[in-house]
């Protein structure tokens, strides 16, 4: 039956798989890019979210294995990410410390600690997060597979809306944006620039950690050292692509997730040559988008004024 359906779909299976892949693979992108967006809105860039993501994946899987509750794992992943974000925020608050360089250091440290502590969790199976079967009405296996949605995806989508609303309509959102656009103005208003940035980076780290837990607790759904393929890093470019808007971050994350699913989807219909090149598609896309949207003469529209990468 399933085989018949697969043949009936034929090449239509590719866009369907890409669509399903976009939903499945985009969740870590959503969380990491929302976290990065929050951090960058406060005027600081955290290049180390890759380390945070891996740390979250390891911590989430480990805690889920030890406690038997995947949701505790998600929480632990967030807290681990929060700690790394706090470290980044505090070190960057010291005078004459470059936030880009600290990000590289954090990337090394996060992956190092995660690989170190995660060694015992490579073998065992931890309980993973349940899926919502939105495609139960269909008799075609691929459609059902494509519409299997994780709760974290829904939470991520809601979070994007919430963040967007928060930046526009709340006092906290306004303070974060002010600190990011003009530190002098924030100081004049009596806000501590350092504290706002540290808190924003820590909160961003929390989100990135949760994004990491999705990798180990849902898809691909296990812990190993090759789990992350640079999602934390691409998030930085993704936020630039989305021009620092949480809503656009969500759609950009979907696009990136779909790009990542292209290689495996083509492989499943028999296009096997160039498998690795398709893997590079999201990175090439990022680079092309950045080259197309940046300009040497002006800063990007929507960029926080204090951000070092766009100045």
């Amino acid at each position: 039956m399933a085989v018949d359906a697969a043949q009936a779909l034929g090449l239509w299976g590719v866009p369907l798989a890409v669509f399903g892949g976009a939903i499945r693979a985009s969740t870590p992108f959503i969380f990491v890019s929302l976290g990065e967006c929050l951090t960058e809105k406060s005027g600081r860039i955290n290049l180390g979210l890759e380390g945070t993501l891996v740390m979250g994946a390891m911590g989430g899987y480990g805690v889920s294995y030890l406690t038997g509750n995947p949701w505790l794992g998600v929480l632990a992943a967030g807290l681990a990410g929060c700690l790394l974000g706090l470290l980044h925020g505090v070190v960057c608050s010291l005078p004459r410390v470059n936030d880009i360089a600290v990000g590289i250091g954090l990337m090394l440290l996060g992956t190092g600690v995660a690989f170190f502590l995660g060694k015992p969790f490579v073998q065992p199976r931890a309980p993973i997060l349940p899926a919502l079967h939105l495609g139960a009405w269909s008799s075609i296996a691929q459609v059902r597979a494509a519409l299997e949605v994780n709760v974290l995806f829904v939470i991520g989508a809601l979070l994007a809306v919430l963040l967007h609303w928060g930046f526009v309509n709340t006092r906290v959102g306004l303070v974060v944006r002010m600190v990011g656009d003009s530190a002098d103005a924030a100081r004049a208003m009596g806000y501590s620039v350092g504290r706002v940035r540290i808190l924003s980076t820590a909160a961003g780290g929390f989100l990135a950690g949760v994004g990491g837990s999705f990798l180990s607790l849902y898809y691909p759904g296990s812990w190993n050292e090759g789990l992350s393929s640079g999602q934390g890093l691409m998030a930085v470019a993704l936020v630039i692509f989305a021009r620092w808007s949480p809503l656009r971050c969500f759609f950009a994350a979907l696009l990136f997730g779909g790009m990542g699913a292209l290689g495996p989807a083509l492989q499943s219909v028999g296009v096997t040559s160039g498998y690795y090149l398709f893997n590079a598609a999201p990175y090439v896309l990022t680079l092309v988008i950045m080259a197309a949207s940046c300009s040497p003469r002006r800063t990007l529209a929507g960029a926080p004024g204090e951000l070092s990468v766009t100045r």
């Binding site: 290049l47 380390g51 470290l87 070190v91 010291l94 005078p95 004459r96 410390v97 470059n98 880009i100 360089a101 600290v102 590289i104 250091g105 954090l106 090394l108 440290l109 996060g110 992956t111 190092g112 600690v113 690989f115 170190f116 502590l117 060694k119 050292e225 393929s229 640079g230 890093l233 691409m234 930085v236 470019a237 630039i240 040559s273 160039g274 498998y275 690795y276 090149l277 893997n279 590079a280 990175y283 090439v284 990022t286 680079l287 950045m290 080259a291 940046c294 300009s295 040497p296 003469r297 990468v309 766009t310």
Partner: protein, 344 residues
């Protein structure tokens, strides 16, 4: 004099702090920190065998460090050494297995191919920066991932040696074309490449007008433009030179260690080089001792694994901690009274 003392003592102090923090980490996971330190020393510098393995690791690191250090003179933070190393190594292997001739000629061709490919690769990041204003740190990092994909595609596809079954490799470059050892030592000649390249770069940066112009660009781009310096050319040149160094590191790894390009090239030397360059404060001369030190730490990973059953990621942890303390220590510069000249 005091300035030099400060430039040396702050990173050394930060490294000591990193070792201390690493010791605390080891204590937390239930290992004896003193034993860990002893093993790091023993595995890195404790015997002639340890020295050989340290030097073999330091050789590519000196070259990949230059890939960060030279562009840093012009104010660029480039972390694309990993990609340049991979593609440089791949180019060297492709040339080495197809060019016939005297070993020396083949080796020169391999080195040139590796340097051209590595240089061009990092120049992409420099060009994007100059022409499109794309942040060079992010683009060079993305280029690393693209390079890995390209490398895998070519090694498992068009350039694959059909005889390599379990571990896809390119065709071997042949035993005669391998780089030999220093006479009487068990250390390959690739180390000399690194040392010479560092010395040349130091002379270039500190004692030529080109190097001076490069540092002006790094200090203040607008002033450099007003002075009529060819900013774009200097940025591209710095990236090209750095990339050539990293490409050469790939050639050294292929021609002196692996004999062909395969997944063993993806060993993290590129990222370690960034760390070396930052600890050396982007000074090409200081890269040499720092690479030696980090080479020793990397070489001791095996000892830690064998004797204390620690994962090989412990070296990564120590590197990460060292990076953070070194960066945090930058804020101490000029703050310590003892170092500040009396008249200031």
């Amino acid at each position: 004099m005091q300035r030099t003392a400060e430039a040396v003592l702050i990173p050394v102090g930060a490294l000591c702090a990193a070792l201390l923090l690493f010791g605390v980490f080891m204590l937390l996971v239930g290992k004896d920190p003193l034993q860990v330190y002893a093993l790091i020393y023993k595995g890195g510098f404790g015997s002639s065998f340890a020295w050989q393995s340290t030097l073999a690791r330091a050789a590519p690191m000196t070259l990949t460090a230059l890939c960060a250090a030279i562009p840093a003179q012009a104010g660029l933070v480039i972390i694309g050494a990993e990609g340049a190393l991979l593609l440089g190594g791949l180019a060297a292997a492709a040339v080495g297995s197809s060019v016939a001739g005297a070993p020396l000629l083949v080796q020169v061709c391999m080195a040139l191919a590796a340097m051209v490919v590595g240089g061009a690769w990092v120049m992409l990041a420099g060009a994007l920066r100059h022409l499109r204003g794309v942040n060079e740190t992010i683009s060079s990092l993305l280029l690393n991932y693209i390079a890995i994909a390209l490398f895998n595609h070519l090694v498992e596809g068009p350039l694959r040696d059909p005889a390599s079954l379990n571990k896809p490799s390119t065709l071997p470059i042949g035993e005669v074309n391998m780089l030999g050892n220093f006479p009487g030592l068990d250390v390959h000649l690739g180390l000399a490449f690194g040392v010479v390249f560092c010395l040349l770069c130091w002379v270039l940066v500190r004692h030529t007008s080109v190097g001076f112009a490069l540092r002006i660009v790094g200090g203040n781009v607008r002033a450099a433009r007003l002075a009529g310096l060819p900013v774009g050319l200097l940025l591209l040149g710095a990236c090209g030179l750095g990339g050539a160094a990293a490409g050469l590191a790939g050639m050294v790894e292929v021609a002196a260690v692996h004999g062909a390009a395969n997944a063993s090239l993806v060993a993290g030397y590129g990222y370690a080089g960034v760390l070396v360059s930052f600890i050396a404060r982007h000074n090409p001369l200081a890269v040499l001792p720092v690479a030696l030190l980090l080479g020793g730490i990397a070489a001791s990973g095996g000892q830690l694994q064998r004797h204390l059953d620690l994962p090989d990621a412990s070296v990564l942890v120590l590197q990460g901690i060292a990076f953070m303390t070194i960066l945090a220590a930058e804020s101490l510069r000029g703050k310590l009274r003892w170092f500040t000249p009396a008249e200031a």
